[in-house]
Amino acid sequence: MRVLFSTMALLLVTAAGLSDRAAAQEPVITIVIRNHMFEPAEVRVPANKRVTITVLNDDPTPEEFESPQLKVEKVIPGKSKATIRIGPLAPGRYPFIGEFNEATAKGVVIAE
């Protein structure tokens, strides 16, 4: 059941991501929050480009995606999706956290 839901959710996000990409002409990256962790915890994006990150919060609890490095602060309610636009970024590592679950929710964007 859980696997089924996750697969469906991922498909939904991918579909949403594709339509966003068509609209905005920006690369779209998808990150899922599950059990207060980011999956994947490490994403690679092209440098010097606007990039859209779609974050799907699969947990029932809200999370705040926060990164001063990426200049992002965004609350994502439980079981919902958020669109975050970042960049253009100089090549480098840009850590981000889930502020409500800082101990486990950690990730990094690598611009290259």
């Binding site: 966003d20 029932p60 809200p62 309610p77 101990a103």
Partner: protein, 273 residues
């Protein structure tokens, strides 16, 4: 528990600093505490509404609803703070010299108090909705509820104590200086908010220019540290500002100073007589 305390504490102090400054700035206007209390109450009620509709807000405007909402809240606060400073530049002398004439002061002071009440309400709304969402999440997950809730409540108390400290610290300033000191604090507060607002507009894709990062002082003072957060709220400290943020910050300050200069009574000698 400690984690919850820290999270709630830092949200509450952000609103608390603003409340402390507003209370001090309006200390000679009768009825200021009532307006600030109203602002806090409205802000708390509003933050629950915002938390309930967080999903809908987030989804609005092609996923940029939350950014636009924050930019709108901050932008409104900037306008209110500017208007307050202009009003005070025009009337502060009368308020100090005619303090006995309470009736006149009350009617004259109603309008800037309303503006400051709105600023307080918006500050509580922004930070409060995050606290509500966080605590709701804790309740929803069930397992560690009680200790985290205790932490959250302690965080709120700590934040309130911190704002009280700000207020009483500012009260220590002699009366003849308090208007100029709070005017400067409010100008910096507004400039910082304007710079934040424009960054939200950038995130929403409304503004797309001048995104170059100017410098990185996170090695010196991280924006995530307690002092960094306090300075972020107070003077808009940003460890990695963009060109756009710096320009908006400076323009807000210049506009604020220019408007208060224009508003100042032409014959200060007569006003003191």
């Amino acid at each position: 528990m400690l984690g919850a305390l820290v999270i709630v504490f830092r949200e509450v102090i952000e609103a608390g600093l603003i409340i402390g400054i507003v209370l001090a700035a309006s200390r000679e206007i009768p009825g200021n505490k009532r307006f600030v209390t109203l602002g806090v109450a409205a802000g708390i009620a509003g933050s629950m509404v915002v938390a309930i509709f967080a999903g809908a807000i987030s989804d609005a405007f092609a996923g940029a609803g939350q950014e636009l909402f924050n930019a709108g809240v901050l932008g409104t606060a900037v306008v209110m703070l500017t208007w307050h400073n202009v009003w005070m530049a025009r009337h502060s002398r009368e308020i100090v010299t005619h303090m006995q004439d309470v009736g006149a002061a009350v009617s004259a002071g109603k309008r800037p108090l309303a503006a400051l009440g709105i600023v307080v309400g918006l500050a509580v709304l922004r930070e409060g909705s995050e606290v509500v969402l966080f605590l709701y999440g804790v309740l929803a997950s069930g397992t560690t509820g009680a200790s985290v809730l205790t932490g959250g409540l302690l965080g709120i108390l700590g934040g309130v104590a911190f704002s009280a400290l700000t207020y009483y610290g500012l009260l220590a300033i002699p009366l003849r200086h308090i208007f100029s000191v709070t005017a400067i604090l409010i100008a910096l507060l507004a400039a910082g908010m304007a710079a934040q607002a424009v960054q939200y507009l950038y995130s929403a894709g409304i503004v797309t220019v001048l995104s170059q990062q100017l410098w990185d002082t996170s090695w010196l003072l991280s924006q995530n540290s307690l002092i960094g957060r306090v300075l972020h709220t107070l003077i808009g400290y940003t460890d990695r500002p963009t060109e756009l943020q710096l320009i908006v910050y400076l323009v807000t300050l210049v506009v604020m100073v220019a408007l208060t200069r224009v508003a100042r009574p032409a014959h200060p000698a007569r006003a003191t007589a």
